[in-house]
Subunit: 286 residues, 2 copies
């Protein structure tokens, strides 16, 4: 997905927010806004938003001399999610369609986001998503791919959401490779965050190597590229991964909650909708 | 009031919005964002937001070659407000305290804003404001000043709001000088807009000469400066005028609805509050 003009005010707003999270020094925050302001003219609108966000957050990290501004927030989100784990597990166990409910749970975890839409109320939104109709629901195709393979590449998104992913992974009952970012960016899950969510018990965790808040393929490492190119069934979680991979062909299933009007417009759904979408040229198996 | 860091994302967002209102040419809109982005580093945070907004909107006008992008919107707002005039008049006539109700009506008109908060529902908000408690209410002082003078300088804000001001002016029953901007900026009222609202029938309309969306004194003309400096009782409507005049001393009464968290913080009230505030060093008369 390309970057839209509407992404620009959002980048500036995010820059201010993460700066405030990191420091109270108004001069430093001012410098961040000055520098990010000057970056606007260099943005290629053919790049995807995570490609731009990668550069924006890198610049902010340099100016504020901070490596992982969301460290504590990520820790809190993971702990909150772990407390919800028994409840979520029960929701799945008591449902008529365990797999579909686990997919819903995994999407519900996607509300944990400190990029596009930070004003979330986790428990309220979980309740809503567990009942909400899908705007796009390629569940039949999902099941076909699931039956046809023993190995799944599961591309994670945010810390805390990881716990919700674990619920789905436990239902999939396949050999799972769970992909995390190569280094901290916004509240995206790194290796450490995934382990804290207990994903090492149910999956092989690998790093895509990227420092973008989305799987921007050119920024991924060789190991990941190999796994990605050989994958027969890919689950891509969240907006950042959708933005980076939406033009890709092949067996990718996008699970996300739409959290901004730009993505809603790009997909052709409404802000707030939940999606189980399939990448173009993903052929039906049966 | 000085400009806060939070004003920066808001300027960028407003730039995008007014550009979209003016053109569908994405390259031109892109150029606006590029140029406004580069302006950030030159912003003096000791200036008030309308001083900065003045430069921002001037630059946008130059790039898009547009003089009055809000012309139609202003016209619509005035027509909508004129239709509400009989209802508003009745509200005043049927109230226990006509003057206070007219002040409320005038503040209700201040929800018509295409700068800080464009997502307003006029009729719903009028209803709310007619019943809402004031967060700051210097009504006794207001009445004292009203009794002590025959002439009032009334500094207007937005087109459409002008009609609501007329309701208050009709209750004041004094010799009123109604001040408009010197040229179009956002949806602020110009001479033409004030005449369309019928203000020429109840007041002497004068232009402050400013091209800022607020009464930035250094940008006003000599005629206005003279009237302003001699005024014994000034009514200042809206956020833009508050931002520009909040540090002034003397007999200014600020009537506004707070429409952004920055101003709420500056005044020490909540976003959404209604205010009848008095400038510092405005002495009690009795």
């Amino acid at each position: 997905m390309k970057t839209y003009l509407d992404c620009i005010p959002c980048f500036i707003e995010q820059s201010l927010w993460v700066s405030r999270l990191t420091t109270t020094d108004e001069r430093k925050i001012r410098k961040v806004l000055d520098e990010i302001g000057m970056m606007i003219k260099d943005i290629s609108f053919n790049s995807s938003p995570p490609e731009i966000a990668r550069l924006v957050y890198k610049k902010i990290g340099e100016i504020l001399n901070v490596y992982d501004p969301y460290k504590e927030i990520k820790e809190e989100c993971t702990q909150t999610a772990l407390k919800l784990y028994p409840f979520l597990k029960k929701e799945v166990e008591q449902s008529n369609d365990r797999l579909l409910t686990a997919i819903r749970v995994s999407i519900a975890g996607n509300v944990i986001d400190f990029g596009a839409n930070r004003n979330f109320e986790l428990e309220k939104e979980i309740d809503e998503i567990l009942k909400k109709d899908f705007a796009i629901c390629k569940y039949e195709e999902f099941k076909e791919y699931l039956e046809s393979t023993d190995e799944i590449l599961y591309i994670g998104d945010n810390a805390g959401e990881t716990v919700f992913d674990r619920i789905l992974i436990e239902e999939l009952n396949k050999s799972i490779t769970y992909v995390v970012r190569g280094r901290p960016v916004i509240n995206d899950a790194t290796y450490e965050d995934a382990v804290k969510a207990g994903l090492d018990k149910v999956a092989t965790i690998v790093s895509s190597g990227t420092d973008a808040p989305g799987t921007v393929l050119e920024t991924t490492n060789e190991e990941f590229k190999k796994i990605y190119n050989n994958a027969k069934f890919i689950i891509s979680k969240g907006q950042g991964n959708y933005e980076a991979l939406s033009e890709e062909r092949g067996p990718i299933f996008f699970l996300l909650k739409v959290k901004c009007p730009v993505i809603a417009k790009d997909i052709g759904v409404k802000d707030g909708d939940i999606i189980l979408k399939v990448a173009k040229d993903t052929k039906r198996i049966n």
